[in-house]
């Protein structure tokens, strides 16, 4: 082999090697991002109906994955003795929540000093709600004779229901916050009487 051919072959091997290592780094970074975005509430988690919570969110006991997941999806979360966060990305039937669909959410006030249900888009920011309703909370909820509240989310208002507008065609994320939850609920988060999330009619 000539000297030029030898160097050409060597340069080609170096280029292929560099490309492979770059690919490995991209794969590592990409898989990390995928895990943190798509498995937002990794174990140890609690599931109650369609709601999930990570009991180590905001805690100094959080493992590496929980800490990173919370930083990406719920930065500045408080520990569960102060606040518990339950997140729903699916309805009671197990179907992914979508902004263009309407949902009826019904429940009883949780055992906490203060609570709220907020609608977020998949980027975890608020929808542009024309009526200024971003959440239903302990002050705005109207309870029926059975002590239950009901709200709706979706592109249009449902008669008689408190409406959280979710304009656009994108995934929907619901967050139930419980400030100063009762000690019994902190000890047994699965005892939460979870609000139901049911789709109303069809989706456009």
């Amino acid at each position: 082999m000539s000297k030029t051919g030898h160097w050409s072959l060597r340069a080609k091997r170096i280029a292929i090697g560099a490309a492979l290592y770059l690919g490995a780094v991209v794969l590592g970074l990409g898989s990390a991002w995928w895990v943190l975005k798509n498995a937002p509430w990794l174990n140890p988690s609690v599931e109650v109906g369609p709601w999930r919570a990570n009991m180590h969110a905001g805690s100094q006991d959080a493992g590496m994955y929980t800490r990173a997941t919370v930083a990406v999806n719920a930065l500045l979360a408080l520990g569960r003795d102060e606040t518990m966060y339950f997140v729903a990305t699916r309805d009671d039937a197990g179907h992914a929540l979508r902004a263009q669909c309407s949902y009826r959410i019904t429940g009883v006030p949780p055992q906490a000093r203060w609570w709220s249900i907020t609608a977020y888009a998949e980027d975890l920011f608020l929808f542009d709600a024309p009526n200024g309703h971003y959440s239903l909370n302990g002050a705005t909820a109207v309870l029926d004779a059975a002590g239950a509240f009901t709200l709706s989310t979706g592109p249009s208002e449902q008669p008689g229901l408190y409406w959280l507008p979710t304009p656009g065609q994108r995934p929907l994320v619901l967050t139930l916050r419980l400030y100063n939850p009762a000690p019994a609920l902190q000890a047994a988060p699965q005892s939460l009487v979870a609000p139901t999330v049911q789709k109303i009619g069809g989706c456009p």
Binding site: L76, Y120, L126, Y134
Partner: protein, 187 residues
């Protein structure tokens, strides 16, 4: 590996090295993510604009335009401070007069919430903290009388004060002065 040719062994080790590289990159990214996000929160363009380094800053009430921190709570009014204890302690004071929930929470540089005080715990008293670095105060300053000494697990971090407001416009005259009682200053 006796039955493998030199060429096959070479590719085996190359594959193994690539796999180890990918795993290390993955673990490093997961470890670094909260630290990088917190760094951007404390030193990024919004932090620079709000001038929150060792002093209190008061973001606008949360709306759909609020896009600095994910999952902003529309029921909370926030006050913030990016504390830096490398040059000495930071004193944090807050004295909201409110009949409902408020809290002062401290976050380490890795995003852990290491301290929180709420209105029930303070029982009408103000929050007065003497925040020191993990190794203590190199200048050995005496904490002012009446302050609660809090040792931060990291020399930089973030303070978030939450004030509950169910109707900001209606409650503005009460909740704005309450959240502006936050003081964050070099000790």
């Amino acid at each position: 590996m006796k039955n493998f040719s030199e060429h096959q062994r070479l590719w085996f080790y190359r594959g193994l090295t690539l796999l180890v590289t990918a795993v290390l990159a993955h673990l490093l990214a997961v470890w670094a993510a909260p630290r990088v996000i917190m760094y951007l929160l404390m030193h990024g363009p919004t932090a620079q604009k709000m001038n929150m380094h060792n002093q209190a800053a008061f973001p606008e009430a949360v709306t759909s335009e609020s896009r600095t921190v994910v999952m902003p709570s529309p029921d909370m009014l926030y006050s913030v401070c990016a504390f830096d204890l490398r040059a000495g302690p930071v004193r944090v004071r807050a004295a909201p007069v409110l009949a409902h929930y408020w809290s002062v929470a401290l976050y380490a540089a890795n995003s852990d919430n290491f301290f929180v005080r709420n209105d029930r715990q303070t029982q009408g008293r103000s929050v007065d903290l003497w925040l020191v670095a993990p190794g203590g105060d190199p200048q050995q300053k005496q904490p002012p009388a009446g302050t609660e000494v809090v040792v931060s697990p990291s020399s930089t971090g973030f303070l978030l004060m939450r004030v509950l407001t169910t109707d900001y416009q209606a409650e503005k005259a009460v909740v704005e002065p309450a959240r502006r009682t936050l003081q964050c200053s070099r000790g």
